[in-house]
């Protein structure tokens, strides 16, 4: 019988669902599972990537956020124009901490501190917004001279029938720079996830492969699905540099559009966030012959393991030696830092409900501190992120996501070049280096842990009440709710303005931040002396 921190998982699930109307309870029931890893490695099926229940208070955002906010936002030299009323552009203005280094581009362009919007008014809703959009693109060109402009559609754009793609084609022709559009209206799909897919399709169609310049350097890699929150990508770049790896492009932390344009000249794609970028990896493999592997630079051990995978792929003694040297030089310091916090973190209980990848990755860091993950879940991941890509053939696209385009990609007649032959791929697979594979979060979680997809506020409250975790990980909307309970919440989207947390130095930062949070004196001071002993027994001094 599986137990969840001493509690019967069946009872726990019942308590999460008991207050719901029956129809809702039946639906949520399928999105909450107790982890059970079978001997063949399979895990229970979890329902995910389905529509949000109205009124239940989900953590989710929309398609526009996934497209503009997440995938395209971090590229510094594209002017991103939000076509819509002012809000969408305003809220996605500098609120994700994608750091960038404009000095790394020869032209020094950096439009990330700016918000560009067509600020649609009633007139455009009634008569259409194409004219204003066209003019806005012209004004962006006149004022900023960018080398690329991207346009992002918001909810009303699809409804009123503005053809942003036609406008972009015209303006591309007219201005002679790359101008491309995204139909990422907020209502598409069921979450940010649809936006990732639309962003992937757009960047693949309009940018990747538009520059065949082969850059100097050996062991050429792309880092996919790493957005440089709090400088994560900088730390990973530092490590790559030390190992002698050549980073061609990052999708899309600290990135420039030029890097995307010749990303196809690399030899290996590394996937950090599987959910947001696996489409680009798949399409690049089909069109250009680049294989991809899943890596994880969150956690010191995970970082070492990922570096070894890369060395294994290139199979070059010089690289292997440098990778081992880097690991040998970096790991002891990290392990010492972990040992220092462990007396205060060991055995503490944590829950993680984050986006579409970090709820998995960060479990590595917690286990390095001896902390136990009782429960985890994603806002918008799909079954393959939970259960592993082996379930991909069984996933049915439902009515809410059916309109998200699947691009048909064929090998490029001139540029398709398989980087590795099947025989060698088979050998590597036999050694444990799996291509195009991700095993998902559940296979790496302990038996009996509770997996909750698209957790609601109500379920969050119940989990807090039942388990009283020592730390909760989620985002800004959850942070102060949880902390009012007297339980610290670590934001794993913004990192609470700290970081980096990736790589070796990031691990140390994370240990220190978590130690500070779970050990803070303030959680012990919530009750005033008179609240602890409400019966009035004291006497006045003069009595």
């Amino acid at each position: 019988m599986l137990a969840l921190d001493g509690k019967d998982p069946g009872t726990v699930r019942r308590k999460l669902l008991e207050k719901y109307p029956p129809k809702i309870a039946r639906k949520r029931d399928k999105q909450i599972v107790v982890n059970r890893i079978e001997p063949d490695g399979t895990v229970p099926e979890i329902q995910s990537n389905v529509r949000t229940v109205p009124g239940l208070i989900s953590q989710r955002g929309c398609c526009y956020a996934g497209c503009k906010g997440v995938v395209l936002g971090p590229t510094r030299d594209i002017i991103n124009i939000t076509h819509g009323p002012v809000g969408c552009g305003f809220y996605s203005w500098l609120t994700r901490r994608n750091q960038t280094d404009p000095e790394a581009s020869p032209d020094g362009h950096n439009f990330m501190p700016y918000c560009f919007t067509t600020d649609m008014q009633e007139e455009q809703i009634i008569f259409g917004g194409e004219k204003k959009l066209r003019q806005a693109i012209q004004e962006a060109f006149d004022n900023f001279a960018p080398k690329a402009i991207a346009v992002f559609s918001t909810c009303p754009v699809g409804l009123i029938g503005d053809d942003v793609h036609a406008v972009c084609r015209d303006m591309k022709e007219k201005l002679g720079i790359n101008v491309f559009g995204f139909s990422c209206e907020g209502y598409k799909g069921v979450s940010q996830s649809a936006g990732h897919h639309i962003a992937n399709n757009g960047i693949f169609t309009h940018v990747i492969g538009t520059d065949d310049t082969v850059r100097a350097g050996e062991f050429k890699i792309n880092l996919l699905g790493e957005y440089n929150i709090g400088g994560d990508a900088f730390e990973i770049e530092r490590i790559f540099d030390a190992c002698g790896l050549t980073l061609v492009s990052t999708f899309s932390g600290n990135s420039s559009i030029d890097q995307f344009a010749n990303a196809h000249t690399a030899d290996l794609n590394l996937i950090m966030c599987h959910r947001s970028i696996n489409y680009v990896a798949e399409m690049m493999e089909k069109k250009f012959g680049l294989p991809w592997i899943k890596i994880n630079f969150i956690g010191a051990q995970a970082t070492a393991k990922s570096l070894r995978k890369i060395a294994q792929y290139f199979d070059d003694p010089k690289l292997t030696e440098r990778v081992e040297a880097v690991i040998a030089a970096e790991l002891p310091t990290v392990e010492m830092a972990a040992a220092q916090v462990r007396p205060r973190t060991e055995g503490k209980k944590v829950m993680l409900f984050v986006g579409g990848s970090r709820a998995h990755h960060y479990q590595e860091l917690f286990s390095e501190m001896g902390m136990r993950t009782l429960s985890a879940g994603y806002e918008f991941a799909h079954r393959d992120d939970y259960e592993g890509r082996r379930v991909l053939p069984d996933i049915k696209v439902d009515a809410d996501s059916r309109n998200i385009q699947e691009l048909e990609v064929l090998p490029d007649a001139d540029r398709y070049r398989p980087r590795i032959d099947e025989c060698r791929a088979g050998e590597l697979a036999a050694q444990g280096l799996q291509f195009s594979e991700y095993d998902g979060m559940m296979t790496e979680m302990v038996q009996g842990s509770l997996i909750i997809d698209d957790i609601s506020h109500h379920e969050t409250e119940r989990m807090i009440a039942m388990f009283k975790p020592d730390l909760f990980c989620a985002g800004i909307k959850e942070k102060y709710v949880i902390q009012k309970h007297g339980i610290p919440l670590k934001q794993l989207h913004s990192y609470d303005y700290g970081g980096p947390y990736a790589g070796f130095k990031g691990a140390i930062n994370f240990y220190e931040d978590i130690d500070r949070m779970v050990s803070s004196r303030i959680w012990g001071y919530l009750k005033a002396p008179w609240q602890k002993n409400p019966e009035l027994t004291a006497k006045y001094a003069f009595e």
């Binding site: 109205p54 959009l133 409804l159 009012k484």
Partner: protein
């Protein structure tokens, strides 16, 4: 340079907004709805809006911000969101048990033309709204006005739905505090109570968005105007609506619906506008102004005379929301400072722009006012001729850093400092706080820049 692409040459723009000095309606409606006790704001649109609005308010207040959403899918966006809203109402009352649900709309549901009153009456007819509970709404299309408009619409809806006249006049006075901070709402209530006046303040986010940590999370905190009070507001002796843009329409609606006379004033920021507020209370309630308030006023004037030499003639750039900008400009001119550049993203109208220009009429500088304008243009003005001080929300810090100009955070949103939710900037005390912040910024800069020889102990 952070804003390295901002060039001094001002080219005409008619279509592209860069670095907006406003955001969209629903967040203002959500904020207003949080000022009702036991209320859950509900966003009738796709869920991205509510996630953004909750996040923005949370970042500003560092407090839980609760709301629900209809979570439109593509199907609902084409065929209408009735089923989503009905299901949401069911789920919200079953699971979260608020007293009242305040529905606002987004550009999505407004563009498709969902009829909220019809959906709400269907919900009532279907028995989805429990006895003694309420669902009310405001239409808040994001493509009209700004967050201030959304606040005004939701505040007016409170009157439209709840205010009722009992046929006689109570002694209470309604105060519609405007789109201000929880601490400001407390301060206007305190000033009135100092005068012995019972008030109904709505909306009132005090102790909702600056609540205490007790170790026990309360989904519906102690604060907020109650529905009972909102109903009684129709029988008050009078209404004072603070801030024309944010509160004017609710004040007028109260007068029209319940014959409660309304006086619309500027936000009580600074000396003059606080004077007018206190004087209005004095006349409306027929009570004397107590000495305690005279003391506060006198302390403010005293401090201004004490520090006048550092304020005199300083050029200031202001960006923010219209009601605040107007009162703040009046305050700054009273300090003999010169607000030379003023931009708001809110389309506040010609009449508003004229009052602003009237306020600035005596300033010898070349004054620039843009209603509606954006922060890109504002920054270009500064590039052309700098100012001594910037006042605005957190986004202004990018300009302040690039141009190395002293800067005071004021307005919405403030994402990177504390204080705004706890300490008022309205009333005489609020004016003292603003004065302190302005002087801190100016004097810190003076002492940073001066030579060792000129460095002084006493200022």
């Amino acid at each position: 340079m952070l804003l390295r692409h901002t060039h001094p040459e001002i080219k005409p723009r008619s279509a592209l907004t860069v670095n907006p000095a406003k955001t969209c309606q629903p967040i203002g409606a959500m904020y207003a709805a949080l000022g009702i006790h036991g209320c859950l704001p509900h966003s009738h649109g796709s869920q991205g809006c509510y996630a953004y609005h909750r996040s923005a308010l949370t970042r500003h207040y560092k407090e839980p911000v609760m709301a629900a959403t209809s979570a439109f899918t593509e199907g609902a966006s084409v065929f209408g969101g009735q089923a989503n809203l009905l299901q949401a109402i069911d789920n919200i009352f079953t699971v979260y048990e608020p007293e009242v649900i305040a529905v606002h709309t987004t550009c999505l549901s407004e563009t498709i033309g969902d009829d909220i009153p019809q959906i709400v009456s269907k919900a009532r007819a279907d028995g989805r709204i429990p006895e003694g509970k309420y669902v009310f709404h405001a239409n808040t299309p994001s493509y009209v006005g700004s967050h201030v408009t959304g606040f005004a619409n939701m505040t007016k809806a409170m009157v439209d739905y709840f205010a009722e006249s009992n046929g006689r006049k109570n002694t209470t006075i309604n105060v519609i505090p405007g789109y201000v901070e929880p601490a400001d709402m407390t301060e206007v209530r305190r000033l009135a109570s100092e005068m012995g006046i019972a008030t109904i303040v709505f909306p009132d986010t005090a102790n909702v968005l600056n609540s205490a940590m007790t170790g026990k999370y309360k989904m519906f905190p102690e604060g907020g105007v109650t529905i009972a009070q909102l109903k009684q507001s129709g029988s008050s002796r009078g209404t004072i609506a603070l801030g024309t843009l944010a509160s004017g329409s609710a004040g007028l609606a109260m007068d029209a619906k319940c014959k409660v006379p309304c006086q619309t004033l500027n936000l009580p920021i600074g000396l003059h506008d606080t004077d007018l507020f206190v004087d209005a209370l004095h006349h409306m309630a027929g009570v004397n102004v107590p000495e305690s308030i005279d003391l506060e006023r006198g302390q403010l004037i005293d401090a201004i005379t004490d520090w006048h030499q550092y304020l005199y003639g300083k050029r200031v750039g202001l960006v923010g929301d219209p009601d605040q900008l107007l009162s703040l400009s009046r305050f700054l001119t009273a300090l003999d400072m010169r607000p030379v550049y003023i931009a708001t993203g809110t389309p506040a109208g010609k009449k508003y722009e004229q009052s602003l220009r009237d306020t600035l009429a005596g300033i010898p500088d070349d004054v620039q006012v843009k209603v509606p304008g954006d922060m890109f243009l504002f920054h270009q003005w500064i590039k052309n001729e700098p100012v001594d001080l910037l006042i605005g929300n957190t986004y202004v810090k990018y300009i302040a850093r690039d141009e190395d100009i002293p800067y005071v955070r004021f307005g919405f949103p403030i994402l990177d400092r504390m204080g705004h939710s706890y300490f008022p900037s309205v009333g005489y005390r609020g004016a003292l706080r603003l004065l302190e912040k302005i002087l801190d910024a100016l004097l810190d800069r003076k002492e940073r820049d001066c030579s060792d020889i000129a460095f002084e102990l006493v200022l």
